[in-house]
C-alpha cells in the first residue's frame, strides 16, 4: 500500500474530509472505506433487496463526492453523510412514485407474522413490514431521527409517523421474540 494511503487510514476524519474537499480521490476512497458499512446497513434495512441497497449506497457516495465541497464543518462529515443517505433514499422513493398509505395497514402487518416463532434476524423482520412503517422504524431506530424530522423528510403527517413508528416497533418486537433470549 502506498505510504500516503497508509497515512489516510490513520488520519483523523476531519483531515481526510478536508483533503477530499480539495479533490483528493484517495482521501475520498478512504472515507468510503470507513463509512460504507453504515450506509449499506441503512440501505439494506430500508430496501428489501441487497443489490438495490448497494446500488443506492453507491449513489449516496457519488452524490457525496459531487457535493463534498459544500461541507461547512468537516468534523461533522458523518452527520452530513447520514442526511445525504436518507435524502437519497427518499428521492428514490419519490422517483418511483411510491405512494405510502397514510394509514397503517393492519392486515398486511398481521399477515407478515405467520411464522413469528421462527428466529429472524432484524433485516428479515424489517422486510416484513410495509414500506412506510419500515421507513419510520428504520429512520427512528437506525438513523435516530426525531418524529418531526421523519415527517419532514418523508412528507408523511406527524401523527402518521408517530403511529407508524410505535406500532411498527411493536410488531418488530413480536417478530423478534426469542431473538434477544438466544443472544
Amino acid at each position: 500500500m502506498n505510504e500516503h494511503l497508509q497515512h489516510y487510514r490513520q488520519g483523523p476524519e476531519g483531515l481526510v474530509v478536508r483533503l477530499a474537499m480539495r479533490g483528493d480521490r484517495d482521501a475520498f476512497a478512504e472515507l468510503v472505506r470507513r463509512r460504507q458499512s453504515w450506509v449499506r446497513n441503512l440501505m439494506r434495512r430500508l430496501c428489501r433487496h441487497e443489490a438495490d441497497a448497494d446500488d443506492l449506497s453507491q449513489r449516496v457516495f457519488l452524490k457525496a463526492w459531487r457535493n463534498i465541497k459544500s461541507i461547512q464543518q468537516p468534523e461533522k462529515f458523518q452527520g452530513w453523510l447520514k442526511r445525504l443517505a436518507v435524502n437519497t433514499w427518499i428521492d428514490e422513493q419519490r422517483k418511483q412514485q411510491r405512494r405510502w398509505s397514510e394509514t397503517l395497514d393492519e392486515a398486511s402487518v398481521a399477515a407478515a407474522t405467520s411464522d413469528a416463532s421462527v428466529q429472524m434476524d432484524l433485516d428479515k423482520a424489517l422486510a416484513e413490514l410495509p414500506p412506510a412503517v419500515r421507513a419510520c422504524v428504520v429512520l427512528s431506530y437506525h438513523v435516530r431521527l426525531s418524529h418531526r424530522d421523519i415527517a419532514e423528510a418523508t412528507g408523511l403527517p406527524l401523527g402518521t409517523v408517530k403511529s407508524h413508528t410505535q406500532r411498527g416497533a411493536a410488531r418488530l418486537r413480536e417478530l423478534m421474540i426469542g431473538y434477544g433470549e438466544d443472544q
Binding site: V32, Q58, H147, K162, A169, M176, Y179
Partner: protein
C-alpha cells in the same frame, strides 16, 4: 406520544449493526467517480471543439455576439462630459455596474435568508 424509543429495540438495532465487508465496494465507487469525471472532460472537450469549428465555419458568430454584449455592458447610463470623470465613474455608470450591484444585493439578501 413522544420521541421516546423502545430501549430493547434500540439495543437490538445496535447489536445487529454488523460490519459489512467492503468486498470491492469502495473500489467500485472510486471507479464510477473516475468514469464520470472522464465523461465530463470528454463532453467539455467536444463542446470546445464544436464551438471552434462553428466559429471557423460561420464567420465567428460567438466573437460577434461577445463584442455586442461587451458594447452593451460598457454603455454609460449617464453622459459625463469630463473624460477622466467618465473613466472614474465607469464601474458604476454602466449597465455592467448596475448589474453587478444588483447581483451583490441579491447575494446579500440570499445570505441573510439562509
Amino acid at each position: 406520544m413522544t420521541d421516546e424509543r423502545d430501549q430493547q429495540l434500540l439495543a437490538l438495532f445496535a447489536a445487529a449493526d454488523r460490519s459489512i465487508a467492503d468486498n470491492g465496494f469502495s473500489q467500485r465507487v472510486v471507479q464510477a467517480i473516475r468514469r464520470r469525471s472522464d465523461r465530463a472532460i470528454a463532453i467539455r472537450v467536444a463542446v470546445a471543439v464544436a464551438v471552434v469549428v462553428l466559429e471557423l465555419m460561420l464567420e465567428s458568430p460567438l466573437q460577434t455576439s461577445l463584442g455586442w454584449v461587451t458594447d452593451v455592458l460598457s454603455m454609460p447610463l449617464l453622459s459625463v462630459q469630463s473624460e477622466w470623470m467618465a473613466y472614474l465613474s465607469a464601474p458604476i455608470n454602466s449597465v455592467a455596474g448596475v448589474l453587478g450591484i444588483l447581483l451583490l444585493g441579491l447575494g446579500l439578501i440570499y445570505r441573510r435568508i439562509h
